[in-house]
Symmetry: C2
Subunit: 148 residues, 2 copies
């Protein structure tokens, strides 16, 4: 009997992303589950940057594109380490938790794997991505403890 059919791992490219990716892969193998990976880029171009006529007051477009292309390169590298085909790699722009929930529902994932710093105090008050993903997730969430 397997517990999960489709696992989505959320990767932030911080130091211990490889650990998170490897645990997700291990669980996918144990469950004979499909594995997908997502990296979310927070948008540089928020509505606050828009001028009154709706145009962008500062040209952030090239920087945004640069970020996306750099993220793609990093995801491809990380995905290669866990034998993840390109069609199962997703780069999305948006608010991290919402974007992860959205893709997880689109793909009918039953487990989201995400790194968690386990911060106390201010970090807890401000909330973390792992915490935000936990709330509102329609499936199980595995928070993999990573050191700060």
């Amino acid at each position: 009997m397997t517990t999960y059919q489709h696992i989505l791992v959320a990767l932030d490219f911080e130091k211990q992303s490889t650990l998170v990716a490897n645990k997700a892969r291990q669980l996918a193998l144990q469950n004979e589950a499909k594995l997908s990976a997502i990296h979310v880029i927070e948008p540089l171009i928020e509505s606050s940057y828009l001028a009154f006529d709706g145009t962008i007051s500062t040209d952030l477009m090239p920087i945004q594109e640069e970020l996306e292309s750099s993220a793609s390169a990093q995801l491809i590298k990380l995905a290669a380490g866990i034998d993840l085909a390109e069609e199962n790699q997703f780069i999305k722009v948006g608010r991290p938790a919402d974007t992860i929930h959205q893709l997880s529902e689109q793909l009918s994932c039953d487990l989201i794997v995400i790194g968690s710093h386990g911060r106390h105090g201010l970090g807890l008050l401000l909330g973390s991505t792992a915490n935000a993903v936990l709330h509102g997730a329609k499936c199980d969430v595995l928070a993999v403890r990573v050191n700060d």
Copy 2:
């Protein structure tokens, strides 16, 4: 290769505890890991109930004992369903997240499994046990989605 060696499942005896217990058991089997279970009873007897001379103003002791014995009976029943030996069942009195962290560290667990209601809004602001367990956990945390 196995990912986890000792899994601690936190059970609250709500409707879907069996689901949470079964997922924990499944993961333990997949990882050839040891499995322990904890149920935390929040103390009825808080310091606010103490009279000025340090004695308890209302006799809550029998109620507290009744709660503990009822919890024991429920844990034994749930544990039987997942083949869990008595020495791996723990009933503790305290603040849920702190008590779960404490036992998890004492037992050197590397994964805590807990049910999560995934509540939004007020529930998120007030915090949930799953959220509190996630923060401050020194190991991985699997939040199993249960319906409200």
